[in-house]
């Protein structure tokens, strides 16, 4: 199913079981934060893990998705599904525009360009009237799903978030295991050779970028509805850095790694929130530790030990 190997299928079923059981034990709002971050990280992994594109500006798509979802549901009173879809659309369209520019360079230049372009989006959000500047868009209602399901209860909202996450997760998995995904992996391994086989690698990279940004927008939009707020933090470069860290810690190019990374990082932030700037120090230290001696990430290392691909 969906190209899962046997161990992956077991891991997937375990993940679904956890998603179903956890809200009865843990605080659903916290879990929703984990799931939206996980979707964001999985989308990022599609680029870095399978195409080898390191974008340092993913917050632009996540944040703009959050703004658009929040604005449309608050001012146009659209359905929750439409609001989230519009968030995704925003991420995708913005991804197409910025990606078109960024893929002109590769490697570290790509990283620097995405960072700079995201900074431009940040300044835009700071000045633009509809984002509410420093205040952000506050008191966003969760609204209704399909016109009749009231999302104001945390548990109801949780099931929507879980469905969005699983949908996104399976979509990414399907993309990776399609012929299109094989070409992406080819680009990651050896771009000139992929070109010589007749693939227009820039087009493939751009499509992967747009898909990733669309899902980042969906994650941002969902997050905006969950917490009823969309602020400058969502488009800030620190958010971009955090999602890189989440994916790196979980395991670049692993199927479940980004989700595991999201659990670890979100939990850490939740418990360390009172410690102020130490959170930054710890995040930085984890970053350095991962790069120096833990490059495969949590699931990469586990998979390596068990000789399976997770």
């Amino acid at each position: 199913m969906f190209g899962f190997s046997r161990p992956q299928l077991i891991a997937f079923l375990a993940m679904v079981a956890l998603i179903v059981i956890c809200p009865f034990i843990l605080y659903p709002v916290f879990l929703m934060r984990v799931l939206t971050t996980a979707l964001f990280a999985c989308a990022f992994n599609l680029m870095i893990g399978y195409v080898g594109l390191l974008s340092f500006g993913q917050a632009a798509f996540y944040g703009m998705g959050a703004y658009v979802s929040a604005w449309t549901i608050k001012n146009w009173h659209v359905d929750a599904s439409i609001a989230i879809a519009l968030g995704g659309l925003t991420g995708g369209v913005l991804g197409l525009a910025l990606g078109y520019l960024a893929i002109r360079r590769s490697g570290i230049y790509f990283a620097m360009i995405t960072l700079a372009l995201a900074q431009m989006v940040y300044f835009f959000c700071l000045e633009a009237p509809f984002t509410g500047g420093e205040d952000g868009i506050q008191q966003v209602p969760r609204g209704f799903l399909f016109g009749f399901i009231d999302l104001s209860k945390d548990m109801t909202m949780y099931w929507l978030v879980a469905a969005v996450f699983l949908g996104g997760f399976l979509l990414i998995h399907r993309i990776i295991h399609s012929p299109f995904g094989q070409v992406l992996k080819g680009i990651r391994e050896n771009e000139p050779r992929t070109t010589s086989l007749g693939y227009r690698t820039d087009d493939y990279k751009l499509i992967a970028f747009v898909l990733s940004c669309t899902l980042a927008g969906v994650a941002g939009g969902t997050k905006a509805l969950v917490f009823g707020i969309a602020t400058l933090t969502d488009v800030n470069s620190s958010t971009s850095g955090e999602i890189v860290l989440t994916t790196l810690l979980g395991g670049l190019g692993t199927v479940f790694g980004p989700a595991v990374g999201a659990v670890v990082i979100t939990t850490m932030e939740n418990y360390l929130a009172q410690m102020g700037a130490w959170v930054t120090v710890i995040q930085g230290a984890i970053f350095m530790f991962c790069v120096l001696s833990f490059r495969r990430g949590i699931l990469g290392e586990i998979g390596n030990l068990l000789k399976i691909k997770l």
């Binding site: 390191l54 960072l115 372009l117 300044f123 700037a277 930054t280 120090v281 995040q283 930085g284």
Partner: protein
Amino acid sequence: MQAILSYSFSFFGTNVTIAALLGQGTLGLINGAFYACLSLGLAVIFGMLNIINFAHGALFMMGAFASWMLLNYLGIGYFPSLILSPLLVGLFGIFLEKTIISRLYKLDHLYGLLLTFGLALVIQGLFRNYYGSSGLPYQIPHVLQGATYIGFMYMPNYRGWVVLAALFVCLATWAIIEKTSLGATLRAATENAPLVQAFGVNVPRLITLTYGGGIALAAFAGVLAAPIYSVNPNMGDNFINIVFAVVVIGGMGSIMGSIVTGFALGVIEGMTKVVYPQASATVVFVVMVIVLLTKPRGLFGKAA
């Protein structure tokens, strides 16, 4: 002269005078000086180490803090710390290169970026813990207070000094790299390190010194910036994003290219403040977009 200066025209409904344009452009040179110092350091480090030093902004900030500490803890004034701070922070850079960064040379460039990004977070977080993020004042040295009339505007002396000092250091760096035998060795090692090593040059030491030198440049800019901006842990953050754009615009192939692009973009940014103030924060990024569309390798760039 006065007639030219007072000539004004309308641009998108904003009344623009030549005097204002010249004035803001000149003030823009100050930011340009910082962009030039920082992008020059990035380019030199990238040439030798193949690493984009994400911690550059944090080390710039450390330069400013070092001069603040020297003054407040040891009573050492501005001019000595203009030399001491870059030296100290440069030594710290050498320590970093020796202990951690040198472990990454065999890996993909992207890991260097990620490592130095983590490093920047650690440094900034530590400074924020101990000094808060509100900023500490640093007085302009007595000799450089006041302002001088330069034909079309009053230039604060200190700002004029910043531009001249930065220009001098940038040109000196250019001269060392392009005109001395040490620089020739350095350029050769950038082209082909194993071959240069075969000639008996200690290339790893050269790499270490290059990193230290690039960091010292950033710290020097930090000391210059200390009296203008308040000394605070996030001061590098505001610069580094723009400096990355500057590096993309200029390309990292040329030393002079980095210097020219840095100063030029500062001027453009300054002039935008007159013409269309809302865009002054983003104009560098807009220039980057235009360059990417027309000359994707950067104005002075080589391949990749």
